[in-house]
Structures are given as C-alpha cells and as structure tokens.
C-alpha cells in the first residue's frame, strides 16, 4: 500500500465558528494505482489533497485521523521529513495555474527553484548551467514547444494550456512516487484538456507513478482512473472500481449525480438533486446526504452509516444496503 487515509477529520476555524469539513474520510491505494475522487464544489476534495501533503491553511485543525504514505505518518512527521516527501516523493498539480504560479517571476526562476531544491535534497549542488539543462529537459517532457521562450516568459504571457503544462512539469519534478492532481484542467478548452489528460496519462505510465485525480468532471475520472471514491460533504459515500461505479452506482447520491450528467449519445438527463450542500458549521449528525436524499429514513438523520461491502470491489456507506 502506498497511501492510506483513515478516519480523517479536518476542521476550519473562523472567528465565531468551526467548519467541520472532512468527517472521517478514508482512502487506500496500492502502488501504481490510479485513483479518482469525484466531488462537487465544496465537497472537501481539495482539503483532502492538501492534508495528504500537509499544506493545509493555518486556520485548519485535524482533531482525528491518520495518513500513511509508504512508512511515513504524514500527520506526525517533522518538517524535515515532510520537506523531503514534498520534494522527492509526492508532486501536486494545482487547480488553477494562474493562481499557483507566481505572477512576478519568470517561469525559469520558478522552475530553477524547484530543480535546485530537489537536487540539493539528492545531495548535489547544481550550477546555473545544470539548472538550465534540467529545465529544458522537463519542459520537453511535457511537450512544450519553444523552450527558451517559455523559460523567459512570465505566466501571463503563456496560454492556459501552456501554463498547465508548466504546472505539470513542476509537479512531476517532485513526484517520485505519487502524483496528486486537483482539477488539472479547469478553465481549459476541451481540445486542450484532451491533450493535457493524454500527456498526464502517458507520463504517469512511463514513470510508474501512482495518481490521485480529484475532479467534479465525471467523464474525466472515468477515463483516467482504475478506482474511484465519491466524496460528498466531507464523507466518502462510495468506493468501487471505476467501471463498476459508473455501471452500477449504489449510493443514492452517486446514482443521482451520474444520472444528472448530460450524455452525448442520447437526449434526456436526470432531474438533478434538490437542495444544496449542508452548512459545515452544523452539519447533519447522521448521513450528511440525508436532507437531500429521496430515500432517507429516520435512521439516516441520526446515525452515520458505516461501510458496507456490496461485493469484493465495491463499498458503500448507506443505510439502504445494511
């Protein structure tokens, strides 16, 4: 097992309130596996990824939980260990490259930094020429044309697709084992998105990386992953092989969600889901989906459902299947 998350609770504190976002999230993945996390806006998917790297904002607290990456307890590890994990083992592609790249530094300066610290962590201290050479190499890995020009550019001078490729190059530098991708193609046109996804797919395969892809785009998760988790309001609702999940969704939330997505092969979409996400300041005490669930029973409002194994490859957290 390369990564396991158990009973992870993450809260955010604001002046008056505590926002109880993650509510006992679990996740297990084997070496080389491609895992998807499906979640709508505000479901806590970015919080989960940031917990894995332990880069949560300052107002966050983790009252309970365990994250194990290989043999490292991430939540208990000291800064030195974490720094080495972030530099050499786990890379992350952030959601919005315009926000993740520093607007006042040229691409080369941002890229050199990452390369330098990675090399220092490996015990080499690189010269300016070595940095440049390595930067050119990583840019050609992500199929960016015109390397020299890209290096001399500021982020705003590149197109969205090119910025995203730079982000991927940066993430890959530190992704020795595991690549985390948080909505890697938001705000990108569909033809460019397709190129980016194929690129990530190829690089991950070549390097034998394990990946966690987090997205609200169902089709993307279906296409890019072997196993998927469904995250709703900070709870894992369902987990299954991706094919199985899309063919036979069990949780009412997953069923409604998949039915809501418009298809290109036929006309007709589900009716969507009534209501909205619960308020994290006072979330429902039972199943967090209960207030919106058409099948909710009394129990659902009071008792949080445990995990039920529906078959070898499929787990669901719902009272309907107990």
């Amino acid at each position: 097992m390369i990564l396991s998350v158990e009973d992870l609770h993450v809260h955010y504190k604001s002046y008056w309130y505590t926002h109880k976002v993650l509510n006992g999230v679990w996740l297990r993945m084997n070496e080389g596996e491609r895992v998807g996390i499906i979640g709508e806006t505000g479901s806590g998917k970015t919080t989960l990824l940031k917990s894995i790297l332990k880069v949560l904002p300052q107002n966050s607290v983790i009252p309970r939980g365990q994250i194990r990456f290989r043999d490292i307890e991430i939540l208990k590890a000291d800064d030195r260990v974490l720094a080495s994990v972030r530099r050499r083992e786990i890379g992350m592609i952030f959601q919005d490259p315009m926000a993740a790249l520093n607007p006042v530094f040229k691409i080369k300066d941002q890229l050199y930094d990452i390369i330098k610290y990675k090399m220092l962590a490996d015990g080499v201290s690189p010269s300016r020429e070595e940095l440049h050479e390595e930067a050119l190499r990583v840019l050609s890995d992500v199929r960016l044309p015109d390397h020299e020009r890209v290096l001399e550019s500021y982020p705003f001078q590149l197109s969205g697709g090119m910025r995203q490729r730079v982000m991927i190059a940066m993430a890959l530098l530190s992704a020795g084992k595991l690549l985390l991708a948080d909505e890697p193609t938001t705000n990108i046109d569909v033809t460019i998105q397709d190129q980016i996804l194929r690129l990530i797919g190829r690089l991950v395969k070549e390097r034998g990386l394990s990946t966690v892809l987090v997205s609200h785009a169902l089709g993307m998760v279906r296409q890019m992953t072997d196993r998927s988790y469904v995250l709703y309001a900070g709870d894992i609702m369902e987990e299954a092989g991706t094919e199985e999940l899309f063919e036979h969704p069990k949780h009412p939330y997953t069923q409604l969600l998949i039915a809501s997505a418009p298809r290109i092969s036929e006309r007709g979409i589900g009716e969507g889901i009534k209501g909205k996400l619960p308020d994290y300041r006072s979330p429902p005490s039972g199943c967090r989906f209960a207030p919106r669930c058409p099948f909710a029973m009394e129990k659902c409002y009071n008792v949080k459902p445990g995990r039920t194994q529906v078959n070898a490859d499929h787990t669901v957290a719902c009272h309907l299947y107990e």
Partner: protein, 322 residues
C-alpha cells in the same frame, strides 16, 4: 418560399472587429445563421471563437462593423441597446454565465425578479408580489425564496432566479450565454430541465452559447460550430452527433471525456486533438483551422472553403467535401 416567416432572427454576414494596440482582432468575421420560432440553436466553440461576441451583438452591447441583424422581420438589431425601443428590449433577454455576479447581492429575490416587471409595466403594483411568486414557481422555486438574498442560495438556485428575472417581461427570445457552465452537474440538470419545460410551454426561442457538447445534445435543435470568428459547420443536433463532418468538429467530439460506452461510440475515431488555437490578431489564411487539421491540403491554407450542403440543413465549410 417565404422563409422569412419561419425565423425569429436572421443574422447575415455579421462582423465585429476590435482595434487594440497590437492590431485588429476580427472577433466575428462573416457569421450567418437564422433561428426559428420555438427553436434552440446552439452556438458552440472554444474560447476565442467569437460566440459570446455574437450573442452580445444581438443584445446590442456592441454595434456591428458589418452585416445585417433582423429580428422578427421588422426590427434592426444593429442598433445599440440604448437606442432600442422598450418593446424590443422587453422581447430579447439574456441569462449570463455566472449567477454569483449577475444578481445584486444587496437585493432580495423578490426585488431582483420584480424589477423588470416594474420597468416594463407587466403588472400593476398590487399584483407585483403574486406575479413574482408565480414566476418563481414556474422555474421550480417555492415562495419561501421571495425574501432570500442571493448569498443564501445555491449555484443552481441562483441561476433559476436569473432565469425567472429574464422571463419576467415575457420575452420571446432568450440568449443563454454559458448559463450552466459554472454549475455542478446536479444543479445543471435542474436548470436544463427547467429550460426545456419553459420552451415547451411558452414557445420561446433560445440561442444557446456554450462549449459543452453534452448540454447541446440535451437541449438544442440545431448546432453551429464556430472557430476563430467563423462558422465551419451547421447541422440539426441528431445529425450532428451521428455524422460530424468538419475535422474541427470531429476533434471537439473526440476530446470529450466519455461517461459511458455509448458515449464512447459517438466519438469519432482516427482523430486526436493537436495544437493550440492561433492568435485572433493574426488568424491563418484560408481555412482558419488548417494549422491544426490533420487532413489539410495545400488549398486549405490559400483559399477559404465554400459552404457545402452535405445533407438537408447540414452545411459544412471544408475543402475535403468539395
């Protein structure tokens, strides 16, 4: 044959150029199409295709630099919105992309939806309240929403309020400018179903501006594909998905992450997305897509392709079909 009577909107050879420091951007460069009464026409393209500019020209946010815009046979839409009659303004409404910014956060829903009712004197003052409630009910929102502020609503609910506001003056033509792109699929489904219902009951005409072909499949009757300010294919929806002809259309369809095996089979084989959209400042000569087209011939970079009628109502602009 008097076609004129079937169409609510006729656009012919529409042009809009923007002069900027670096030169002239031909955002819309010779676009022609018509919208029938009670029909949904989808204007599809990626960023920079000119689809939104086309919509804004129809609304009168800009004045065109060339071409004709005729509405209901008698109105000339090349007149900017400030010089349009109240009656014409009432008849043409628009729903914007992001309901978070298009609704005034300081106003309650009843005032947001009530404003156009007062401006266009649709009802007298005593009936205002019940008319607003009626409109909300029509889009599927209960009366309790009357006294809510936008921030208390979910994304889908906000967009439904924006739709109720657009419907308030009883228009016959609605422009939907990426109206569901900012929404999660579960709220998008609700909005799309509501739009379908409204069209059936009120015989409204829609101009749907979008990049999402899944949405197009589910609500449009006809599809228009735009690339760098020009139209390259036009077809009825069914036919469009069964037999996409233009290489750009095929590339678009093949780039969609599929949700099911059925969707997979709709995607054209033997074409992969390559390249990036060229700058609109200096568009390629001839067919503007030839720089990314895997089937490009010498003539494609020299002369603009003619309109070719491939089937009844199916028009493609491509030298391959000459």
């Amino acid at each position: 044959m008097s076609l004129q009577n079937n169409f609510i909107l006729n656009v012919s050879d529409l042009r809009k150029y923007f002069n900027i420091k670096e030169g002239t951007v031909k955002a819309v460069d010779g676009v022609s199409f018509s919208v029938k009464y009670g029909e949904t026409l989808a204007l599809v393209g990626e960023s920079g295709s000119g689809k939104t500019t086309t919509g804004h020209l129809i609304m009168g946010f800009y004045t065109p630099d060339g071409g004709q815009l005729t509405y209901k046979d008698s109105y000339d839409l090349s007149v900017p919105i400030k010089r349009r009659s109240l009656e014409l303004k009432r008849d043409l409404q628009i729903v914007f992309q992001d309901p978070g910014t298009s609704l005034n956060p300081k106003h309650m829903v009843k005032d947001i939806v009530g404003l156009p009712l007062r401006i266009h004197r649709v009802t007298d003052k005593r009936e205002l309240h019940s008319k607003v409630a009626e409109l909300l009910e029509f889009v599927g929102l209960s009366e309790e929403f009357l006294f809510k502020y936008p921030q208390e609503l979910g994304g889908g609910e906000k967009q439904l309020v924006a739709i109720a506001r657009a419907l308030a003056p009883n228009p016959s033509f609605l422009i939907l400018d990426e109206s569901t792109s900012a929404l999660d699929v579960s709220s998008q489904a609700k909005v799309l179903n509501t739009l379908n219902k409204i069209q059936r009951e009120r015989n409204l005409s829609y101009l749907l501006i979008t990049h999402d072909l899944g949405v197009v499949r589910n609500i449009a009757h006809r599809v228009l594909i735009m690339y760098l300010g020009k139209v390259y294919e036009e077809a009825p929806t069914e036919e469009f998905f069964r037999k996409p002809l233009h290489p750009y259309t095929q590339m678009l369809l093949s780039s969609i992450p599929a949700l099911s095996k059925e969707d997979e089979s709709v995607k054209p084989k033997g074409i992969e997305s390559i390249g990036e959209i060229p700058s609109a400042l200096n568009p390629p000569k001839g067919c503007r897509f030839h720089t990314r087209c895997p089937f490009a011939k010498p003539i494609c970079s020299e002369r603009e392709p003619p309109d070719i009628l491939a089937d009844k109502e199916h028009v493609v602009r491509c030298w391959l079909y000459e």
